[in-house]
């Protein structure tokens, strides 16, 4: 039997738990104040009446043919902005990912990478990080000032932000794959682009495509959001309708948007299952 004295019956984790709970509450209080968190305001008579009226307008949703035709056109615009933006993002992301990946480094083949190639790669990565970190809405605001309202601002905003996202993940995918084939090609004198096409692309194509299609689906949602700052499409129409308190129009557009997102989600999942 055990010779050790029986352990204390006080829970050793208790003090830690009390401390972290109090710390959490101490952070919660200022957060509630800073966000003006007053849930009772939602049920104040004035606000409640406005809410009820707005929500009441949702049913029945506006189903007049000419309105539905408008919604369908704006839907197409939203998808078009997203797709065009993604196409441009690809044009930017692929070269940047190739520049940022260390797999294609010729100087690193025998040993350590030389200083200049290393710097170039770090620069490419830094650029990708910056592109990713700026929210696309901010880009859209900037471009709306420069090129005016319209789809161009949206396409460019999506192109820039998503090039950063795609570039980073492409780089990660390329880094994590098996390098033997690529290095063999480089050692035998193949150019970097050839090494990429024959060595890396075959193994990573499925994963790269899969992620790209997933991001395309996200871009459709972003595109709708960008409409709120003037980039056109479903988002802009929703903003207009909301400002005019046309609840039934908003309801229709929300439903259509949810359907659109659901379709894109389903299509993307189907494709990813096929190629993944």
């Amino acid at each position: 039997m055990s010779a050790a004295a029986s352990p204390a019956l006080r829970d050793p984790a208790w003090t830690g738990r009390v401390f972290w709970t109090l710390a959490g509450l101490a952070l919660l209080a200022p957060a509630l104040v800073a966000t003006e968190f007053k849930p009772w305001l939602l049920v104040e008579p004035g606000a409640l009446k406005a809410t009820m009226r707005f929500v009441g307008d949702f049913l029945p949703p506006k189903l007049e043919p000419e309105f539905l035709w408008l919604v369908a056109r704006e839907c197409w615009r939203t998808v078009a902005i997203a797709t065009a933006g993604m196409a441009l993002a690809l044009v930017l992301a692929i070269p940047m990912a190739l520049a940022a990946t260390s797999v294609l480094s010729v100087s690193a083949l025998p040993g350590r990478m030389h200083a200049l190639p290393f710097a170039v790669r770090q620069l490419a990565r830094a650029l990708l990080i910056v592109l990713r970190s700026v929210p696309e809405l901010v880009w859209a605001l900037v471009f709306v000032r420069v090129v005016g309202l319209g789809p161009t601002a949206g396409v460019l905003a999506i192109a820039l932000t998503y090039s950063g996202m795609l570039g980073k993940v492409y780089c990660e995918i390329l880094e994590s794959d098996d390098r033997a084939a690529t290095h063999a090609l480089l050692r035998n004198g193949a150019g970097r682009l050839q090494a990429f096409c024959y060595g890396m692309l075959p193994q990573s194509a499925a994963e790269l495509t899969s992620y790209t299609v997933y991001r395309w689906e996200c871009a459709i949602r972003s595109s709708a959001v960008l409409g709120f700052v003037g980039a056109g499409g479903l988002g802009q129409q929703m903003d207009n309708s909301m400002k005019m308190f046309q609840g039934s129009e908003v309801a229709t557009m929300l439903l259509v948007f949810m359907l659109l997102v659901g379709l894109a989600d389903g299509a993307s999942a189907w494709l990813r299952k096929r190629i993944g």
Binding site: M1, P7, D11, P12, A13, R17
Partner: protein, 271 residues
């Protein structure tokens, strides 16, 4: 608890309909306070038998009686109350890896606690002394406040057994309690279990591969291919009987067979 099986047949929960039952019609009666060891090669239906006794499997045929009542004809609340009086220890210790030993052991008391009490016990264990005493009998008292995933396999198995001592059950169904334990720890563990069962008048049914340990139980059940081959007091379980039970599967036997007595008469082959 008194257990009676009347031609009880059961299927694996994942088995296809129409396939052969894992447990062919079994007749068995266990009196309150009896201790029963079940032996047999794998696939014999030992685990299925335990799960059927624990009301975790609906019978595919026949009847189960626990303390004279058919659990499957009881209303849901009655069945839940009946379940609170039995304890099942599966083969793999059912302990969440990041939970602490004290909580894992005291979880055996859940059937008798209100929801509020059980939640309070999560924040601060309500009766660590009981957990410590149960663990101490298995030589694990110093692991009271440890996380389950910091224990070795054998220690985890003993924690799973310690839960039985904390529960208020009158029927203990233990599946392979000694698989991760070395011989000396195994001897201690089975000793603790049988002694505790005897002290509380608990009915104990346990499956074992260790035949030398099994034959120290007052009653031994031999199973093969879903059927009960023999149901005898330990004195009558001979080496030949066990050899016949494990025919062509001798590698699954553990424990020296020569610890079991030999008899002059040859034993009938089982299936």
């Amino acid at each position: 608890m008194r257990v009676a099986l009347h031609a009880l047949a059961a299927r694996h929960p994942a088995a296809a309909a129409g396939s052969a039952p894992a447990l062919r019609p079994v007749r068995l009666t266990v009196e309150p306070g009896e201790q029963l060891a079940v032996v047999g090669p794998s696939g014999a239906g030992k685990t299925t038998l335990l799960h059927a006794l624990a009301c975790a499997l609906q019978p595919a045929g026949g009847r189960l009686e626990l303390d004279g009542a058919d659990p499957w004809s009881l209303p849901v609340s009655g069945l839940q109350k009946l379940r609170g009086r039995l304890f099942l220890a599966p083969q793999a210790p059912p302990l969440p890896p990041r939970q602490r030993v004290v909580t894992a052991v005291l979880a055996a008391r859940l059937p008798r606690q209100t929801l509020l009490a059980s939640l309070r016990s999560l924040a601060y264990p309500m009766d660590p002394a009981a957990a410590r005493d149960a663990l101490a009998r298995f030589d694990l008292a110093d692991k009271l406040w440890e996380r389950v995933d910091r224990l070795s396999g054998g220690e985890r198995q003993r924690v799973g057994l310690a839960r039985a001592l904390v529960s208020a059950a009158s029927l203990w169904l233990i599946d392979e309690p000694l698989s991760s334990l070395d011989p000396s720890r195994a001897a201690m563990a089975i000793d603790v279990l049988t002694r505790a069962a005897r002290e509380r008048g608990v009915t104990l049914v346990t499956t074992l591969h260790q035949v030398d340990v099994a034959t120290r139980f007052p009653r031994v059940l031999g199973m093969r291919d879903g059927e009960v081959c023999f149901d005898l007091p330990a004195a009558e379980v001979s080496r030949e009987r066990l050899a016949a039970l494990y025919a062509q599967r001798e590698h699954e036997l553990s424990g020296p067979l020569d610890a079991v007595q030999a008899t002059a008469t040859p034993a009938p082959y089982c299936r």
